[in-house]
């Protein structure tokens, strides 16, 4: 009998074009997502080298990072020009490039536009067992559907455009097993924050993580996307979740998914992908879901995680001297004093959005907390759907009205306040409860202070004006 293989090894083996003597492999790429920020220099490189895009049909471009989330058309339906000339120029460059190289493209004004990692699964561009890349580190999200998906740099974007392949070394594997039932008010975001808190921001470096266990199986596809999305925050370039019936149900009938006989053929192949019993991982980490509380970050690394019932840690409490120094720096930047209860920390901004938490379930979770309440005085709260289709569905369900009545802003899809690139920024020294994935220094704006939370926790913070244990607001009118 053949040796048992992991999901990662099966996908890897199915994509080796050539193996070199030194073990490096030329790996075929099935799906390539392109956005405006990391692609202009790649297209420029193709042009300079007189090269073409090898497989435009396996490529899909959509603008997201640099687009303002203010209305895009005026009352007459005419496009509203983008004020910042550099942003306008970059978006225009993408349009020019996709036209010149014949790449399928979702325009900023299309209903299907959205954050590239929301659009891929939503359109069924992302499929199980595929290799999928994008010039963006959160490409790991697509691993939720069982795709080997990872972020690449612009030179690699150019390499994929020109050759549809990448030269890669096989990674080590890490199993992250989560078992048990999730407690009241605990979401997929809390699970992944707990995982990163455990393994550390560099814990997964050099590894592809596979998330296993009944807790992960029990998550919806949207929850799995949240978990896989943040794999990179634990240092792992890719995070995988084995495809199952939930995956197939989610994908069936989406615009870019195979139909008819091909669908059955594909599902039969996808069913062979999950890791074999007895497959070996280079490392295994186990967490118990019952230990996970609604969580958030206190510092400037995603590994700085505490339960909401906890307090700002004392830097002296860390055994590792370099961690002690880093914690002190974090606290200085964050303007926090050791020992302060997390729930006593006031906030001025709330951001509900980003490729981590901007799907319909995320908006439902936030709306259920916002419903019948009002954003606290002095707080600015943004809700930014991950795509035009999410926005449309939320509006059909009346979520927009709940948010607007509660004093939240309801905006157009895009990366928004996740990164300080478009006009949505947190001013210096101000504090934001954010459903995004990075709390780095300056990530939401120079001097901005970020606490990563789940959508429900973000909504709770908005209405209370401080970091809040959402469980106190749940099921209470």
């Amino acid at each position: 009998m053949a040796a048992p293989l992991t999901l990662y090894e099966k996908i890897w083996n199915a994509h080796v074009v050539e193996r070199r003597d030194d073990g490096t492999c030329l790996i075929y790429i099935d799906r390539h997502l392109v956005h405006e920020v990391t692609s202009p220099q790649a297209f420029e490189g193709l042009r300079a080298g007189g090269r073409t895009v090898r497989r435009p049909d396996l490529t899909l471009a959509v603008p997201d990072h640099n687009l303002p989330t203010t209305p895009r058309v005026d009352a007459t339906g005419a496009p509203i020009p983008i004020v910042d000339p550099e942003s306008a120029n970059q978006l225009e460059a993408l349009r020019r490039n996709v036209a010149e190289f014949g790449v399928p493209y979702i325009d900023a004004l299309a209903a299907e536009q959205g954050i590239v990692h929301v659009v891929g699964p939503e359109q069924g561009f992302t499929l199980p067992g595929t290799t999928l890349v994008c010039g963006d580190s959160h490409t790991s999200a697509h691993g939720a559907l069982g795709a080997l998906a990872f972020g690449i740099g612009t030179s690699e974007v150019e390499h994929v455009l020109a050759t549809q392949t990448l030269l890669l070394q096989q990674s080590k594997t890490m199993e992250v097993r989560v078992e048990g039932a999730l407690g009241f008010g605990v979401s997929a975001k809390d699970v992944v924050l707990a995982i990163i808190g455990r393994i550390g921001a560099a814990g997964g470096t050099g590894h592809v993580v596979e998330y296993t266990g009944d807790t992960i199986r029990g998550l919806s596809i949207e929850g799995r996307l949240t978990v896989a999305n943040m794999s990179i925050e634990g240092g792992a370039r890719a995070g995988l979740i084995a495809p199952d019936d939930k995956t197939f149900e989610y994908l069936k009938g989406r615009p870019m998914v195979p139909g008819g006989d091909e669908w059955d053929w594909a599902v039969a192949w996808w069913r062979t992908l999950p890791s074999d019993p007895g497959a070996r991982y280079d490392a295994t980490v186990t967490l118990s879901a019952t230990d996970i509380a609604p969580s958030l970050t206190w510092g400037t690394s995603p590994e700085d995680v505490v339960p909401i019932t906890g307090a700002v840690p004392d830097p002296e409490s860390f055994a590792d001297p370099s961690k002690r120094i880093a914690a002190q720096k974090s606290l200085d930047y964050m303007g926090l004093t050791p020992g302060t209860a997390m729930q006593d920390v006031g906030i001025e901004h709330v951001f509900i959005g980003s490729c981590t938490n901007s799907r319909i379930e995320d908006l439902r979770a936030a709306a259920s907390v916002a419903n019948g309440r009002h954003v606290a005085d002095g707080v600015r709260a943004l809700v930014v759907p991950g795509s035009g289709l999410v926005k449309r569905q939320a509006e059909a369900e009346g979520l927009d009205r709940i948010f607007l009545a509660a004093g939240f802003e309801w905006r157009e899809p895009g990366c928004s306040m996740c990164l300080a690139m478009n006009p949505d920024k947190v001013p210096a020294g101000q504090r934001c409860a954010s459903t995004s994935n990075r709390n780095f220094v300056g990530r939401q704006g120079p001097g901005a202070r970020t606490h990563l939370v789940s959508p429900a926790m973000a909504a709770a913070a908005a209405v209370m004006g401080r970091l809040t244990d959402v469980r106190e607001l749940m099921g209470v009118e």
Binding site: V17, R20, T24, L26, Y28, D30, V37, T38, P40, G49, R54, D57, L58, L60, R72, V73, G77, D84, E86, N89, Q90, A93, P104, I106, D107, L109, A110, A111, L127, G135, D136, S137, G151, I152, G153, T154, S155, E158, H159, A162, Q164, T165, S171, A202, T205, G206, G235, E262, W263, W265, W269, A326, G388, L419, A420, M421, F440, V441, G442, P446
Partner: protein, 209 residues
């Protein structure tokens, strides 16, 4: 890409850990559509503090940067490598790198040297006053004081750096193998190809309803 064989000169004795690419080049610099000129934005937030290492005249245009664990973590932006290159950095020495960053570094002619923490500590000390040499021929980092640290690098990456190879050109030369793979997959997993079947799906400017 310019070949790199040996990098000799002053080094920024930084040693900081978990330096993410948002620190190397903040997001607002990413609106550019060119690779050039990003050195101006490199380490902008660090440089906003007086007395920072990057504005210290002792290390002006040093070709080497010494950093701590997990250098280049976070965003995949290759702008980080372009910014380092544009400010004159040709080698980084650190105990570890994010996978994406080390790939980007090599593709832009920057040597990502991995050395253990005690070697880093020693080099930080030396770099305050003296030069450091990174040699890809001998795969060593040396100082004027007889320090000699060996490092390793994936042989293909080493070759690309030393010969300034165009990776895309090399892969395009494997076209027959790629085409062969494509025809095999077209038979085994035909649903992967999107060809004309789904061509109408990606929409341009259908207008928001």
């Amino acid at each position: 890409m310019n070949p790199v064989r040996r990098v000799e000169g002053r080094a920024y004795p930084w040693g900081a850990k978990n330096i993410d690419t948002d620190v190397i080049i903040p997001a607002h610099w990413l609106k550019t559509i060119s690779r050039a000129g990003l050195g101006k934005g490199a380490f902008e937030t660090v440089r906003s503090t007086p007395g920072n290492i990057f504005d210290d005249p002792r290390y002006a245009s040093a070709p080497i940067l010494i950093a701590g664990d997990n250098f280049g973590c976070g965003s995949s932006r290759e702008h980080a490598a372009w910014a380092l290159r544009d400010m004159g950095i040709v080698a980084v020495i650190a105990p570890s790198y994010s996978d994406i960053f080390s790939g980007n570094a090599v593709k832009n002619g920057i040597v990502p040297v991995v050395l253990p923490q005690d070697a880093i500590d020693r080099l930080v000390e030396v770099a305050r006053t003296d030069q450091i040499t990174v040699d890809l021929e001998t795969m060593t980092v040396t100082t004027p004081f007889q320090d000699r640290f060996e490092f390793s690098l994936d042989p293909f990456r080493r070759q690309c750096l030393m010969e300034g190879l165009d990776e895309i050109g090399l892969t395009l030369a494997r076209d027959t193998a790629i085409s062969k793979y494509e025809s095999a997959v077209a038979a085994e997993r035909p649903w992967l190809s999107r060809e004309t079947k789904h061509a109408g799906v990606a929409v341009e400017g259908t207008g928001r309803p």
